[in-house]
């Protein structure tokens, strides 16, 4: 399969005060379309930084980042925003739902950037909530949902605009084992049944087992894994 994510000699440095810290060192990775990759490694190994680069939330200091056929490290801020809206769905550890909006309004947010009519948006929102098994909780606000349900809503929000790639940062980090397994099953189903490419950062080896490939990072370098070039 062709690579949907391709990083070539990527370096990422941060400046903290007078100190410059290199977080990623000449990293090169290819992730194939339809893959489910778990990014693992100790804290500070650069997992989230790598995920942010793949998701177009951050830019590399050097190197190339090609995702979904576009060299995203060269896009302007506005172009990158449009690109994210079209190609990436994000799932965060703490769900990051809008507390004052109902589940369906949260899921609708990415669709506000499209030209879909109100009726079409409603239809797509319902479809996404049905996929995650929460159609009956559409009118509930995040505070009225359990952790697992809130994360399902977040996944529905990530899915609703039919992105090329799902980017998940510790999606089960805030959940108990049973709920975490339900969420991971859901992600696996989205990968297998809906063909979604998923890149997931996790500390949890059990969670990583749900992925088809694992990539291990340490001190900003890839130490092992089957999905890298």
């Amino acid at each position: 399969m062709s690579a949907i994510v391709s990083l070539h000699n990527v370096v990422k440095t941060y400046t903290r005060g007078k100190q410059t810290v290199e977080v990623l060192h000449n990293l090169s990775i290819d992730i194939a379309q339809g893959d489910f990759v778990a990014l693992m490694g100790p804290s500070g190994s650069g997992k989230t930084t790598l995920l942010n680069l793949i998701g177009g939330l951050d830019r590399p200091s050097r190197g190339e980042v090609n995702v979904a056929g576009e060299r995203i490290d060269q896009l302007s801020s506005g172009q990158l925003a449009k690109w994210r809206a079209r190609h990436v769905g994000f799932v965060f550890q703490f769900y990051n739902l809008m507390p004052m909006l109902s589940a369906e309004r949260n899921v609708e947010l990415p669709l506000l950037l499209t030209n879909l009519s109100g009726a079409q948006r409603k239809q797509n929102v319902l479809a996404a909530l049905t996929v995650v098994g929460l159609a009956d909780r559409a009118k509930h606000k995040p505070a009225e949902l359990s952790g697992g349900q809130a994360q399902r809503v977040a996944i529905a929000r990530a899915l609703v605009a039919d992105p090329t790639l799902l980017v998940c940062d510790e999606p089960t980090g805030d959940l108990d084992r049973t709920t975490a397994d339900e969420i991971l099953h859901l992600l696996q189903m989205l990968n297998k049944d809906h063909g979604k490419t998923i890149v997931m950062v996790t500390h949890d080896p059990k969670a990583a087992e749900y992925a088809s490939h694992q990539l291990h990072l340490d001190k900003g370098q890839l130490v092992e894994g089957s999905a890298h070039a």
Binding site: N52, G55, L57, D58, S77, G78, A81, K82, R84, A85, R86, F90, F92, N96, M98, P99, M100, L101, R105, L109, P110, L112, L113, G118, R121, R157
Partner: protein, 380 residues
Amino acid sequence: MKYFPLLWAALWRKKARTIFTLLSITVAFLLFGMLQGVNAGFNQAVEKANVNRLITTSSIALTENLPYGDMAQIEALPGVASVAHASWFGPYYQDPKNFVFSFPVEPERYFAIYPELVLPKEQLDAFIQTRTGAVIGAALASKYGWKIGDRVPLHSTIWTKPDGTSDWNFDIVGIYHCPTDRQQESAFFFNYKYFDEGRSFGKGQVGWYIIQVKDPTQSAQVAAAVDKLFANSPDETKTETEKEFQQAFLKQIGDINRIVNYILFAVFFALLFATGSTMMQSVRERVPELAVLKTLGFSDTSVLTLVLCESLLLCVLAALLGLGLASLLFPGLKDVIGLVSIPTPVIVEGIIGAVVLALVVGLIPAWKAKRLDIVEALRG
């Protein structure tokens, strides 16, 4: 419109804070509506002043009277078409709070010089012939339910009779209209002769003269000629156009325009800080949420626009509430101002003011939201 639920929900994220902010803006715009309405009422009176008419008063003060005999001399001056006079009677009806704008006049002269006051001929004739006759404006008649044939007692706060009383009885013989300016329909005119004969002091004097000029372009020359005529006399005069006279009269109460502007400046200056800090706090609390919007694909400019729209929604909604309340309360000032509703330009000014306020208080938080770095914001 599709963003409205998002904006509305963001606005009500902290209900108590939004309600208090909304109330403070509402009160500010209520004040704006009422004060600017009053101001507009006064300004309108000045703007409607006739350019063909001059007013002659004592050069010492408006409260000083002038000899009745001056009228013939003024009338003889070149450029003068006709002359009338009026005096300040200052009465109330039954209760001091029922103040009546009342003036003793010579009926024929007065109604000839004010053609905008429409009085049927038979009523004018009755006015001339009835010593205790009075002609009242339609609004005043409606206010107290007075009609032709009624006998109305007024208590003057200035003019006593030789027997020491200040109660004057009048017979209503006519009701005038002023189709061009309904504010003018609140006056009470009665015969100067009855007034002059009945008062215990100040006999043979009038409050001011109204001069109709033949050519409005010659107003300045006629005014100078009148004042020159009485220069170095015991009763020196000051003659000015009706508009200047109205302005001077209003300045006796105070520079309404300036007072209103100072009050509103203070109110809005305080409001700027109150609303500005609310908006800043609201955005600061929502940094992770705004960052999530950006991850979803909202551009920096979209986020800036959303925050500005939120500020607009808050300020314009509160302004509409405030101006709406002012519109409801304003008719209560009808007797003082003469206007029955807040003029439309004041409402428009208010809405424009709300938009400007929203943009000013929303700009800094919106700019901060625009500049928000997603990675930093999500890291918390």
